[in-house]
């Protein structure tokens, strides 16, 4: 089980990198990130993690049957 969690973390990490890279990086004139790209990546990652945490919380509630009214 521990190994499955580890695997899922690594997969999540790969997904996060892929998503934020795709969103933030679009020019390839240099081989290092420029300042705006760097900032975008950090915001994106932060947002992704907060999003995942929120979804987890709601998902756990629903899984436990604790649905709340609108």
């Amino acid at each position: 089980v521990e190994q499955m969690q580890m695997r899922d973390s690594l997969r999540m990490y790969n997904n996060l990198v892929e998503k934020c890279f795709s969103n933030c990086v679009d020019t390839f004139r240099r081989k290092t990130l420029d300042k705006d790209e760097d900032k975008c990546i950090r915001r994106c990652a932060e947002k992704f993690l907060k999003h995942t945490a929120r979804v987890s919380m709601r998902f756990a509630e629903l899984n436990s049957g604790a649905a709340t009214p609108d």
Binding site: N15, N23, R43, R58
Partner: protein, 88 residues
């Protein structure tokens, strides 16, 4: 995939473990698809800040709830009309 109260003693530990593992893989897969879909639907494309704003937060909550509802509807359709595939 429901819990099996009073399952016959014939079922052995390995099988029970395999079933539990599949259940878990299914939930992980469901979670990942749900999270990815709601990210696409709810996050504003322009990243002005790292925080979730109010609109995004309530969008996530509703997106998760609706996704869950869809899971139920399609699960019912599959178990009713269907070919035996009827996970919760």
């Amino acid at each position: 995939m429901a819990a099996m109260p009073g399952s016959p003693s014939g079922i052995n530990r390995e099988q029970a473990f395999a079933v539990a593992q599949q259940e878990m893989e299914y939930r992980v897969d469901l979670f990942n698809k749900l999270a990815g879909t709601c990210f696409e639907k709810c996050m504003e494309k322009r990243l002005k800040e790292g925080d979730l704003n109010v609109g995004e937060t309530s969008c996530i909550d509703r997106c998760v709830a609706k996704y869950w509802q869809v899971t139920g509807i399609i699960g019912q359709m599959l178990s009713a009309g269907g070919g035996g595939v009827a996970p919760r």
